[in-house]
Symmetry: C2
Subunit: 438 residues, 2 copies
Amino acid sequence: MRAMPNPLVVMKFGGSSVAGAERIKRVARRIARERTNGSDLVVVVSAMGDTTDELLALAAAITDDPDPRELDVLLATGEHQSATLVSMALQAMGVAAISLTGPQAGITTDGRYGKARIAGIDPRRVRAEIGAGKVVIVAGFQGMSVAPLEAMDNSPTASDVHAAEMTTLGRGGSDTTAVALAAQLGADRCQIFTDVKGIYTADPRIADDARQLPVIGYEEMMELANQGAQVMQVRAVELGWVNDVVIEVLSSFEDAPGTLIKEDLLVEQRNKVRGLAHDRNVAKITLVGVPDKPGLARSVFGPLADAGINVDMIVQNVGHGGSTDLSFTIPRVELAKAKRLLEPMIRDLGLADITTDSSVAKISIVGAGIQNAPGYAARMFGTLADEGINIEMISTSEIRITTIIAEDRVEDAVRALHAAFELEQPESEPAGAAAAAG
Amino acid sequence: MRAMPNPLVVMKFGGSSVAGAERIKRVARRIARERTNGSDLVVVVSAMGDTTDELLALAAAITDDPDPRELDVLLATGEHQSATLVSMALQAMGVAAISLTGPQAGITTDGRYGKARIAGIDPRRVRAEIGAGKVVIVAGFQGMSVAPLEAMDNSPTASDVHAAEMTTLGRGGSDTTAVALAAQLGADRCQIFTDVKGIYTADPRIADDARQLPVIGYEEMMELANQGAQVMQVRAVELGWVNDVVIEVLSSFEDAPGTLIKEDLLVEQRNKVRGLAHDRNVAKITLVGVPDKPGLARSVFGPLADAGINVDMIVQNVGHGGSTDLSFTIPRVELAKAKRLLEPMIRDLGLADITTDSSVAKISIVGAGIQNAPGYAARMFGTLADEGINIEMISTSEIRITTIIAEDRVEDAVRALHAAFELEQPESEPAGAAAAAG
């Protein structure tokens, strides 16, 4: 895809990979080896270990309600630090390197503090440093927004002063930085180094025989990530999909092939469940005795959205006598805030009651073949029934079936479903698939 | 000096003043009180507590020889963090505030990593934020250098890319940031908050009756700082002198008047020793049997300067029989490096030997009146002789007399000289001086 002689690889290392001097040196050795293999390299790093949490704790010790602009400048320092240290470690090994902040790397954002989206990348400085023979280390999770300064109106001598502001991309934003740079630079591959070896059929800490997938499609990966598999950010996968970036998830601690996330041309032939995802960060809210009249959904979900509470599954039960029950799930950490918002509405909305349950969990089967095979739903529900696990809610998409169950049965459910769908068995893929994944 | 209605004050808080959340809140209360008094405020902060040393230790754990460019990005994060936290603390108290990095505050430098000098300040953003009613918190110790990118020559599409680079001003650089901002903004006063109450006639930990000076001239302050008084950076005092910035040194922990550093019009009338300074970070090197021929000084001091070793006092003794002894002092921490440089030269230079002494100290009397009163030198040397303290070297300037003595006698010397020059006695200043200092 590129006219330049060397292949270009973007490598991203997360916080646990750069936690402390020894791990930084190990990461540098890994980068140096890749460089010796003849690749041009752009390396994206997160903040070291718990740095981001420590900075948040420091801000929390000062104020309950930190200004998002100030918080972004504070948090961005974590990635500045790790980027410089990785660059120093490479230089100490004789590898030419330079660290760039997100703004120096030409990454601009839409300016929404704490949850900015990348608006564009001016790749010229990165390309110039690569052209000068350097490994370019980019501070992840951040970019610059440029906006006219509000106060300018009163300052006639300063009409060309603009406010270049640091913005951060939200949790996991370094994945997005890496994929966006890979897309903009036309990289041959984007490698995401993590503390797991790749994408598994289920959480290997629960299912002993969980199997690493050699390859997975973008859409399947997005569903898995959305449903609780915490290996990679949904946004980054989506960005890779839109820009056709081949992403590899692999271990920063072991030297082994990872999982490729790419356009999966074998989906139609495969017709199979690819993996399970589960999520314990779930609470269920039920509005009891909802009057059958228009506008109620807006009255309930509008304020939750305004408060930044992400509503996931919504199920409206069959009504009896003009009223019905409406259940939905939210992240468990938001339950207290949601109750404070909703309980004052009981009278206004004419509800009988609001009940909550914070001891539920979500479990999903994901596979691009599900849409063509109605038997999968029956097998999933039957397997859970055989285990004596009650299904509280169901939701489906074209490539996913999700159920809400009691949290204390989630590990039993993972193991039973893993066996029922024979996920421990290597897939019998058509010839050529193994080569594509290698 | 300014047309705006509110007085403008620049306040600078050092690392110990912002070490941790509680101290940051205390600093914020102090700033808020000053704001309530009706001043427009620009606040310069250093990195919290030991942050800079911790970052240096982290870099040292990665490499013995960190790239100065990377080190500057790393160190600058310390001031970014403290600036955002002070801003958050002010906002939590209802005081409108905004933090700016050195580059955002318009501070540009000459681009020398680790020891940059301020090249200019574009004050428009700071002025605009003040105009918007905000207290402006500026990250000290840093600025931006802008230079064309070297790699550009090979990159025809990127001919307008410039490299905006973070540079730091060296130890104590936040003092310089504060004074430079005060000069550029035409501030009414520049307050340097420290862990001492002001400038003293001698180190009060040694001389019990050391007295705080209400006012001191720029030149006297520079001599005191140069000779070991560690309250304020020499460069910042010099910058204040050139720009006529009134500087106040005062305690960040106590609410008491400090010492004003300003043009001292009373010097000619005062004619008095103002204070003592001493410095233990001294080593003496003696070149024994130096041949009496030209060029030797350059052969010795050239390589020391190239190695960044600051030579202080130089004394050449009277020669006997065509050769002489040459003694000079350097910072004690540089002694090992200096010996490695000089010892291979013994044969080439025709020296008899090189001897070193790292158990010496420097003690100085400083006062603008000294130049008109030759009796001060005699009184200083006589006082040391009465105490049985041997003088190893002597150096004088127009407003200072410095001696090198044995380090284990330095405290005796401070106390004896403090008494001999009656420094514990308040000065009988002409009317008006007390008001000027208040």
